[in-house]
């Protein structure tokens, strides 16, 4: 029997991830006594239906935080840095979707299928949810590590607009509504798009090899992939190279992965084990459209690397709003309630 979550808060309930969290709480029948929704002062006072109830959105900045048992946060890193400690101080266990606490040594970074035990030690009362791109690669990479000993990972990503929040989706949608878009066929300059706001270049009909901010060669998004993978897999010396690229997809992050192992990987064994792994599904053609709305990450194109002795390659696609964010957070909550 799963315990009740008592008073459960969804913080960022009006956002994309918050919306999917509300859906998943209903789908999975997460047990609670009371449900509270929070957002910024912009949305405070509006109401959201949940089952038979109508729940008013509260302003996270002024609300009374007494009596909250668990809080699922998806309001971005800078707001999480302000409000997550406030919720924790008032007694709530916070599961945070932002990058604010992921690399904090006092905060576990958890994928329930991979490192559930890490959730037990949480001195700050905060558990972090990985970056949505990192997350999607973790279930298959954990299997490869277990079977063959993971030594090096090389990834190129194909990241959806929704990974950059609602504003990214709106920007791509507006660009795609241009009837002259097809003229891009022969000359990109023929379509004059409005200057992009959210992304560093027009995303429609394009791919942008820059997600996050550029640091020293790598971007912040690439550094997240490197550092978070090491922490989740418990392989602090894992060698990782990442190239993070935004593509004109609404939802569903995909990743081309090359994994180099200590032992020679056997593809048949890997396929069989991936098929058994909770949260993974082996398919012929893993794509964002196929994974959107699904809980499992889809893994395919599994093959030996012809350029190294012990390499194995695969392609993985996962719903960045579900497994990449909302679902994983709720699976962490379920872990705490079991």
């Amino acid at each position: 029997m799963r315990r009740s979550a008592g008073t459960l808060a969804v913080v960022g309930a009006t956002g994309q991830v918050g919306t999917v969290m509300r859906q998943i709480i209903e789908e999975r029948k997460v047990p609670f006594e009371r449900l509270r929704f929070f957002a910024s002062s912009r949305s405070a006072g509006s109401t959201i239906n949940f089952g038979q109830q109508t729940i008013e959105v509260e302003d996270v900045d002024v609300a009374d935080l007494e009596g909250i048992d668990y809080a699922l946060f998806s309001i971005g890193a800078s707001a999480s840095r302000i409000y997550a400690p406030r919720f924790a101080a008032a007694g709530a266990t916070v599961i945070d979707n932002s990058s604010a606490y992921r690399m904090d040594s006092e905060v576990p970074l958890v994928v329930p299928e991979v490192n559930p035990g890490d959730a037990a030690r949480r001195p700050l009362g905060i558990i972090a949810n990985p970056n949505c791109t990192t997350m999607i690669a973790m279930p298959p990479l954990a299997v490869i590590d277990r079977l063959f000993g993971l030594e090096r990972v090389i990834v190129s990503t194909y990241q959806a607009a929704s990974g950059a929040g609602k504003a990214g989706v709106v920007e791509l949608d507006e660009q795609l509504r241009r009837p002259d878009l097809v003229r891009l066929t022969f000359d990109g300059a023929a379509v004059a798009f409005a200057p992009p706001q959210k992304f560093p270049a027009t995303l429609a009909g394009n791919v942008i090899p820059l997600a996050g901010e550029l640091r020293d060669g790598d971007t912040s998004e690439e550094e997240k992939f490197i550092n978070e993978s090491r922490k989740i897999l418990g392989l602090k010396d894992l060698k990782v190279h990442a190239t993070c690229v935004r593509v004109p997809v609404f939802t569903g992050h995909s990743i081309a992965v090359l994994a180099e192992c200590r032992d020679q990987p056997r593809v048949e064994r890997l396929v069989a084990e991936l098929d058994q792994q909770p949260g993974c599904k082996v398919v012929g053609l893993p794509t964002p459209l196929a994974c959107a709305g699904a809980d499992a990450v889809l893994v395919g194109r599994i093959r030996r690397d012809r350029s190294s002795a012990n390499g194995v390659a695969f392609f993985v696609a996962g719903d960045n709003l579900r497994k990449g964010a909302a679902l994983n957070a709720i699976q962490i909550l379920e872990l705490l309630l079991d």
Copy 2:
């Protein structure tokens, strides 16, 4: 002084690549005495304007091939296998854009900035133009090989619809005209697309990790990248791993490349040399929209690989219809006329 091409044929003049060939012949003022256009019986009899002239399209299957000096072919592999030998037998030098002859040991496979000398020996009277994806990676990889000794290449591609011919462009365009496309945000299944014909899945709002036919683990497109790179760079033991992915872009192929070298690569030196390399341009953000209509391939995100001692990574985007096909073929022709 460049010699005249005499009687110059464009075979596949009505196609995407043929159209760009006609533009480039005009732009670069390729010298010729007579220009002839060929296609299948479907287009034969139609006319195409070129400068002041109106030229009738001839049926390649029944036309008199006497007196043709050079023929630029872009009609696909199965048609090239039939007609390229006929043109060669009638005395023409054929520059073929298809995969039909690329790996034939009697046929040179040429990128003028990389291996111009190979064009001299052409016992069959045929010179092959590389696959459009391979092509775009060659200028920067040739520089890396020259500077640091290339040992291994790992690529993930982001390939445009136009790389699959006009039918691919039409299919993507029709899918993108769906006003309900944005609903993909939360659920891929919410938009019912017509079944795809040209691609193995819907391309709008999606990425498809399968280009060409699936062989033994790798696809035909991935094998082309592996085999053609070795032949063009003259490195028959080069280790190559490729994942070829179609993205919802009209024109411009992009590639995330990791190159492992014999010597430790120095990024500053590489950037300086790439900037000097004809056919390459170093930019901050190389994207398909930025490269569409341009001659050079755009190279950026150049950085040391943090996962190996001697690796260097970059991202490259090039116009698959220009440098990836029409322009390179015409540069080969110019080489023969110089």
